[in-house]
Symmetry: C2
Subunit: 318 residues, 2 copies
Amino acid sequence: MSAREFDLIERIRRRAATARDDVLLGIGDDAALLQVPTGQTLVVATDTLNAGVHFPVETAASDIGWKALAVNLSDLAAMGAQPAWCTLSLSLPDGDPAWVDAFLDGFTALAAMHGVALVGGDTTRGPLSVSVTVHGFVDAARALRRAAARDGDDVWVSGTLGDAAAALTQWRAGALIDSSLRERLDRPVPRVALGRALAGVANACIDVSDGLLADLTHVCVASGVGAQIDVDALPASEALRTGFGGDARRHLQAAGGDDYELCFTARSDERDAVEAAACEAGVAVTRIGTVVAGEGVDVRGSDGAPWGSDSAGWQHFA
Amino acid sequence: MSAREFDLIERIRRRAATARDDVLLGIGDDAALLQVPTGQTLVVATDTLNAGVHFPVETAASDIGWKALAVNLSDLAAMGAQPAWCTLSLSLPDGDPAWVDAFLDGFTALAAMHGVALVGGDTTRGPLSVSVTVHGFVDAARALRRAAARDGDDVWVSGTLGDAAAALTQWRAGALIDSSLRERLDRPVPRVALGRALAGVANACIDVSDGLLADLTHVCVASGVGAQIDVDALPASEALRTGFGGDARRHLQAAGGDDYELCFTARSDERDAVEAAACEAGVAVTRIGTVVAGEGVDVRGSDGAPWGSDSAGWQHFA
């Protein structure tokens, strides 16, 4: 560790200010010492964002900081967990303090919203890459698992779908990017409160990172079931409706990645409880289909005719 | 996630075979569910290795796998913790299955030696980078903290110093690299058993990753003390003595990074207990100096004359 890396770590440590009584030892030792509440199960997720793969290279540093934490908190949300701590591993082409400050603006703003303490990590030289590991708690009996979808469950999704993919489409086309679509791409809002409210109410849950159909397929495979989806029931934002129509819009909603909404299943006699959870969390939820026996996701329009999509969702190693 | 990334994850999951009763849910959901033993404190460390920065680009995949976990387990060792779980975030320029298999050979071999379960992670496209987060347990009252060195403590180090830096020196010079030195660079052995045996016996502890003087300085700063070190007391391997003499050797031992030995302090009336811990762990330990009031690390030869070094240890952002 050079003097310069030490300065960067000090800079990060000064801003990792969220105080939690359960952090016995935070940044500055070989490892953090953390106290999990009695009776709670530890929930751990990790996700890495690489420049040019997970975000356009010209993305603002503060947005990269926000998104790196957001995609991880989204994984905790999909388990119904309460976030607590995170570690941050930052690979930087150079150690530009101004870039790091801006990155921390976004990262710490979201961390503060969820009471998440940054307890460790490292900074290294290398191509721009951000790896975050988040820790939270859940009552294991109430955790939302992918394998818990049951024949007859309703299929629900939170918020709206397709906005992030629409922004990427506009960006790739060299078009002016709608600001509210761009906001969804750069500053996704992890549905933490909704996930917590759904714990013990919903059955299976996953966050929509690869695209609704790809992610719902993961749930179906894990649960040994199939699903029928009404593509015309998928919720769309005003901005998406304005910019995209017909099958282009349906495709963005059904197959576009990076939405970080929650897709979950719940027994049909839990509809009131699901609506109450959504109301408590301040997030709209929409019923988009049904879990069925068998396998695969059968997508139809509101007219009942099959709707085809050749996309497998967000592609790495494409 | 493309079909190819899914295949890679399946490949990794099949080999993440270490079964632990405290893993309620491992790879395959949005997050892992893990049970921390009652009365134990969670210990978390994260470290990233980038190609060309933390290892020569021609390093074998299996050695990269070993080292990525080893450097993290070394952080747990320096806390006196018992390892339990890890996550792995792997950025790959391509998704070559043969490379991933070889990487896992090294990674899982070390994980199995320490009963560590791989419980999550991700694979992404990007320049070769490996980010690991390890989790373990410790009785917080017995944890080895950097800030716990006290005036009058002995300073100890495990094993031998300078071998990894010597291998790097030979590599950079284009010379034939001694195989036992290369082994120390590519396959460092985390001193987990020693760290656990020292918990409750030693005061402060750190693992030697940046170089002895740099790391001991971290301990001194955190503890508000200084240290006097006898550079001629630093333990050296036969291979190092054969390949390097005089100040070149002393420099490698005092300032070379990547050794992953433990440097720790203990009260002088704990010498028998320290030796007993080392014996129990099967690792030699050497007394190399004393903690003193003041600040800084004062390095002298066996003749009592000051010994100078202009190195600040392993440099990132150099």
